[in-house]
């Protein structure tokens, strides 16, 4: 019997869901509301110099990689399963398309992190 790839995608979905549940709301609040508006945190918290230094540093690279890729896998996996709820009949093509988006995003993240040396 061909082995199912379900455990891989389900694990990534689960890991992303846990990450989103633990730090997601605060992350969105910081990067999307507080810093852009300069509320509580200065707008320069996300200045070019600071963010470049963060993306150059090993810990920073690992953090960016984990956050972007796990959130992508969580989001696209769940949206894929949602298609059924809205009457879309899914097949291998749509499954490949949704998970492919997450995989492409992962590849892009790795490429960009490597480029910010």
């Amino acid at each position: 019997m061909k082995r199912s790839n379900k455990p891989i995608f389900w694990s990534l979905f689960g890991a992303g869901g846990t990450l989103a549940a633990l730090v997601g709301p605060m992350l969105v609040l910081i990067t999307g509301v507080l810093v852009p508006l300069g509320l509580l945190l200065p707008a320069d918290t996300m200045s070019f110099e600071r963010m470049r230094a963060f993306a150059q540093n090993g810990f920073g690279k690992a953090t960016i990689f984990v956050v972007i890729t796990l959130l992508l896998f969580h989001g696209f996996h769940r949206l894929y399963h949602c298609l059924h709820d809205f009457g879309v009949h899914v097949g291998p093509g749509l499954k490949a398309a949704f998970h492919g988006c997450a995989i492409a995003g992962t590849a892009a993240t790795v490429f960009l992190l490597a480029r910010i040396a």
């Binding site: 846990t18 633990l22 605060m26 972007i68 989001g75 769940r78 399963h81 960009l112």
Partner: protein, 132 residues
């Protein structure tokens, strides 16, 4: 003779008729905001790799009312996701046993919610202490 026509129950708007289904769809739709937020961050990383002018353009975009409104809505959906994630944890985790007894569902939910609140506060504290 006519071909047999069976009744197919329409799917349209099925989730709007029942509060439980509505909550389910809102929970599942949180994934849309999780994915979009990840794409916002990925775009930021891309602009960062292009240099200062590109990155500052991305930051200016984040400060527009539309972007802030999007993040406020995303915050609400992802916070709801967080709550539901821990609310189903007694079902998604294997049985947790302490001293031979199964840990109560309520204890698991509370532990998850407390862990999340602590993680959010630690994240904010880290950013606060290292702020410029």
């Amino acid at each position: 003779m006519d071909a047999t026509r069976t009744y197919v129950r329409p799917m349209r708007g099925w989730w709007r008729h029942n509060p439980y289904y509505r909550a389910y769809i809102v929970r599942e739709m949180s994934a849309l905001f999780v994915a979009l937020y990840a794409l916002v961050l990925l775009t930021g990383l891309f602009r960062l790799s292009q240099g200062r002018a590109a990155y500052d353009g991305w930051r200016a975009g984040l400060a527009t009312p539309w972007a802030v409104a999007f993040h406020v809505i995303a915050f609400a959906f992802i916070a709801y996701h967080a709550w539901t994630w821990f609310a189903v944890m007694p079902k998604t985790l294997p049985f947790v046993r302490v001293g031979g007894r199964r840990v109560d569902d309520r204890t698991i939910i509370t532990a998850g919610a407390v862990a999340a609140v602590c993680a959010e506060l630690v994240l904010f504290a880290l950013v606060w202490w290292t702020r410029p």
